[in-house]
């Protein structure tokens, strides 16, 4: 049989590059926060083992997949959704909608409220994942941007803000 030719969607290459980079970064930051942040750790502990969730754009991505493996470790699992079982899909209805979300012009709840974000999967787990992503965004983003992305900016101690931020960002970059 001839080699399968993958047809890549044309157009918007810059948006796609930006989104791929952001998804990679956020995915690794979730993995890092699960080691650094108590609340994120707790949320992941309450998720079942082998639980995978994906965030991305309909229909051809880009995607990011994060999962909790059988030993309870949280891992960024890359951008391929095809070879995994996904327990929770958080699908933006288009690349544009994902771009709005990741340029922080729109928060997750607003995206959801405007019918641009679709959540498929067990709802209590979906709620937990949204809470995890909110915390991760606080670590990654400067306050004035994070305030646009989440409903309520948390009142953390200065120590948590500074040390947590350094740890999460460093671990995100080195991928540990």
């Amino acid at each position: 049989m001839e080699d399968f030719v993958e047809i890549k969607p044309k157009g918007k290459p810059l948006k796609r590059i930006y989104l791929n980079l952001m998804l990679w970064f956020v995915g690794r930051a979730i993995q890092a926060s699960a080691k650094v942040d108590k609340k994120v750790k707790q949320e992941f502990e309450d998720l079942p083992k082998g639980y995978n969730f994906a965030l991305g754009a309909f229909p051809n991505g880009p995607w990011m997949v994060v999962g909790k493996d059988d030993d309870g470790r949280v891992r960024y699992l890359g951008r391929n959704v095809k070879d995994k079982t996904i327990d929770l899909w958080m699908t933006l209805k288009s690349v544009e909608a994902l771009f709005l979300l990741f340029t922080f012009q729109e928060s997750t709840p607003v995206s959801n409220a405007r019918s641009r974000l679709f959540v498929e999967g067990d709802l209590p787990h979906a709620c937990a994942v949204v809470r995890i992503m909110d915390i991760v965004q606080v670590y990654l983003l400067p306050k004035f941007i994070a305030k646009l992305a989440i409903k309520r900016y948390p009142r953390w101690s200065l120590k948590q803000h500074i040390i947590g931020r350094i740890l999460v960002n460093a671990r995100t970059l080195i991928g540990y």
């Binding site: 409220a113 019918s115 787990h125 709620c127 409903k151 948390p154």
Partner: protein, 415 residues
């Protein structure tokens, strides 16, 4: 008025409302090309003689009509499967669902199976899994509150697998909602009060939560005004047919509003109180509604202020200084609850500590509140609430609602 840059609105249910509308059902069915409906209902509804009323109203055109009244309050997959085989055995071609949310959800599940010629509901779960129109389904609501006659969703439990299946599709909308005040005429006053407050909560949350849009707003405002105008009267005079029709209309309006813009924390917490302590949904809504507005006040002050107009009338609105309108609207809801408490001799509850089960025991106890708060964090409606809610926030609101004391606004965490 707030116009979001994108919104969706859909209401595809033909509404037939008024006195004597039950008699119209055979004609509605024949317009849909059906002539052999199966009536699905529950024991409470048939025991109250409501199914007899429906059958008598249709007798001329439809002399025989199979009835299945064995839908338990916690209906599940087994019931759906059983009713589907009854439908097939009688060679029915339509369903008339007479009852509240549980009956209608069951009827929707049956309709999926019989229309798709399927045996396994699981294949149709999730959003938009249905791809074609189902057989005719007519909803006849018997409470004026849930608004389920105009919603696209259905929830069916699978008790064996211990899970709930959620279905969402425009094809699940009934083809027609028949609203006849004869169906709610015999509702006891305290249930009338609680279910109307459920409709009130739908309208108020639709108007103040994140997914609001101008079309659902219009429905919400009209619903609030109708409820405010008629609720106390109907509770005092249960035979008030005009008032009953007004409340039933308000419930449908509010149903259209919230199914297009969803609800927030009043339902987040209310669903959890219902799940953990089996308190009726309307009771939870009446108690929690002022707290929801109070908690979100710093994010929705303007919208809450706008609600004073339908909630208290033009005169009160005009004479209240703009800065006080939001808090006056919240006070108006508390006053309404108190009026209903008085009109029902204390059977309409204004705080959770008053709520007793049929045996007279306290329905909600101290330790329950923690379980309720934890359950609430997993309820999907929490997404649509304007302000974030964590475990402590839920505890704070629930404790205040237990005592019946207003929220201490200085304790509410703001970002």
């Amino acid at each position: 008025m707030y116009v979001p840059d994108y919104y969706e609105f859909c209401c595809g249910v033909k509404t037939v409302a008024g006195h004597g509308t039950l008699e119209r059902i055979p004609a509605l069915l024949s317009d849909m090309g059906a002539q052999k409906p199966l009536i699905i209902t529950d024991k409470g509804v048939s025991g109250a003689g409501l199914v007899d009323t429906v059958i008598a109203s249709m007798a001329e055109a439809l002399p025989t009509c199979p009835v299945e009244d064995d839908v338990p309050p916690d209906s599940d997959l087994k019931v759906v499967n059983r009713l589907a085989s009854v439908y097939r055995k009688h060679k029915c071609d339509a369903i008339i669902a007479v009852g509240g949310g549980s009956v209608l959800d069951t009827a929707k599940g049956v309709n999926i199976l019989v229309s798709q010629g399927a045996d396994d509901l699981m294949a149709f779960t999730g959003a938009n899994a249905l791809k074609q129109k189902l057989n005719p389904l007519i909803a006849v609501p018997t409470t004026a509150g849930t608004g389920s006659e105009v919603t696209v969703a259905a929830v069916i439990a699978d008790h064996e697998a211990k899970k709930k299946m959620l279905f969402g599709s425009p094809f699940l909308l009934p083809d027609a909602a028949v609203i006849d005040p004869r169906m709610t005429l015999t509702l006891p006053p305290h249930i009338t009060a609680a279910t109307a407050m459920d409709a009130m909560a739908h309208a108020v949350e639709a108007y103040t939560c994140l997914s609001k849009n101008p079309l659902s707003d219009a429905h919400a405002l009209e619903a609030i005004e109708l409820i405010r105008t008629h609720i106390v009267n109907v509770v005092r005079n249960p035979d008030d047919r005009e008032g009953r029709l007004a409340l039933a209309t308000a419930a449908t309006l509010a149903g259209i509003a919230f199914s297009n813009s969803t609800v927030g924390m009043v339902h987040t917490l209310g669903h959890s109180v219902g799940a953990v302590c089996h308190v009726p949904h309307g009771t939870c809504m009446a108690i929690l509604l002022p707290y929801g507005l109070e908690y979100n006040l710093h994010k929705i002050e303007e919208k809450t202020a706008e609600l004073l107009f339908p909630m208290a009338g033009s005169e009160v609105y005009a004479t209240t200084p703009p800065k006080e309108r939001a808090t006056t609207a919240i006070a108006a809801i508390r006053k309404l609850n108190q009026d209903l408490f008085d009109a029902t001799d204390g059977r309409h509850f204004t705080c959770f500590s008053q709520v007793k089960d049929p045996q007279g025991r306290q329905s909600i106890t101290g330790p329950d509140i923690e379980t309720i708060a934890a359950t609430a964090l997993g309820d999907g409606t929490i997404f649509y609430n304007p302000e974030d809610l964590d475990f402590e926030d839920c505890m704070m609101v629930l404790s205040a609602a237990w005592d019946g004391a207003p929220l201490d606004r200085s304790k509410i965490k703001q970002g």
